[in-house]
């Protein structure tokens, strides 16, 4: 491998573990990127992050500003695990592709989003065992431990189906007809 190969790349069942980090398409979320960058310095995992339009330049991970929807799908498909803001697009896509995901909410008071709706959203995901929730950057290191434990990576991540639940489909279909 070339010089970019990190010394302590982690493997599970012979497969390299690749972590994909994304902050979505709207505003930057440096608090998450900085915390992941710090964590990557010591952990040696291979990380690729989509960081948005930000001034912060990550030092210990590969990164890009933005991805097309197609590139975004490929990154999730290739990843062993996904780390993201609490955006439904990323959460649903990761679950559709059967990937473990860790989410951290943006905060309204830090102007990371327009209000605290992501904080409310993640509270409902704490009981959902396919999604690891961390409330802030301090919880991130422990979150990674749990996200990347062998038991978590190797457990059944059967993709959720491609469509809404039957109840919603029939509610809408009945109304249309």
């Amino acid at each position: 491998m070339g010089a970019c190969c990190r010394e302590r790349r982690r493997y599970i069942w012979g497969e390299s573990i690749l972590i994909f980090v994304t902050i979505g398409s709207q505003m930057p979320f440096d608090r998450l990127i900085i915390a992941v960058d710090e964590w990557a310095k010591d952990s040696g995992y291979e990380v690729f992050a989509q960081v948005g339009q930000t001034q912060y330049i990550p030092q210990h991970i590969d990164w890009c500003n933005n991805l097309t929807p197609e590139q975004f799908l490929k990154k999730i498909r290739d990843a062993s695990a996904v780390v993201s803001h609490a955006g439904m697009g990323t959460i649903i896509t990761a679950l559709e592709l059967g990937k473990p995901i860790m989410i951290m909410p943006r905060r309204g008071d830090l102007r990371e989003t327009r209000n605290d709706h992501q904080i409310a959203t993640v509270k409902y995901f704490t009981t959902f065992d396919r999604v690891e929730v961390v409330m802030d950057e301090k919880e991130l290191v422990n979150g990674f431990k749990s996200l990347l434990s062998s038991s978590s990576l190797l457990k059944d991540h059967t993709p959720i189906g491609s469509y809404a639940n039957d109840f919603l489909i029939s509610t809408i279909r009945n109304y249309i007809n």
Binding site: G24, M88, T121, G161, N165, L168, I172, R173
Partner: protein, 151 residues
């Protein structure tokens, strides 16, 4: 013979779009027209008619007006029987304009809104013919209907 019903399914990008495309089986037997802000998303709904519209948030009034005109043209031209949206500014315009043209209008509030309806949802609840939330407790609080979840 019954004509196929025409559905306009429209939203902004990101999570709203991901939720919108998960509704496809509900439109079985209908002609579906999709519309969103990013042309790259057309491949998600290959085989269906697709219109790209301008991306705008409520902070950019000029772009909003452009988006509204585009949606007006789509609805004027296509005359959908049903307009359905999961999100934000395109949904707001499409439902208000859809009402004028006599379409049945459906608003599905994003599953992300776990405590109250989105701002757009609150504005639309008196206009959308069917206003749905994906959370039972929100339905009770806001006086709208809980009709299931996108996953």
């Amino acid at each position: 013979m019954n004509k196929k019903k025409k559905i306009l399914a429209i939203s902004s990008g990101g999570g709203h779009w991901v939720q919108l495309r998960r509704l496809q089986p509900a439109f079985y037997g209908c002609e579906i027209i999709y519309s969103t802000v990013n042309l790259d998303l057309k491949s998600d709904v290959a085989g269906h008619q697709f219109y790209r519209i301008t991306d705008a948030t409520r902070w950019n009034k000029l772009l909003l007006i452009k988006m509204m005109c585009q949606i007006l043209l789509i609805i004027y031209k296509e005359r959908p029987d049903v307009v359905i949206s999961t999100g934000a500014a395109p949904g707001y315009f499409a439902i208000r304009i859809g009402n004028v043209f006599g379409a049945k209008t459906i608003w599905l509030d994003s599953i992300a809104n776990v405590e109250e309806l989105s701002l757009t949802g609150k504005k639309l609840k008196k206009y959308a013919n069917l206003c749905l939330t994906q959370w039972e407790h929100v339905a009770e609080k806001e006086g709208v209907i809980f009709g299931g979840k996108v996953f």
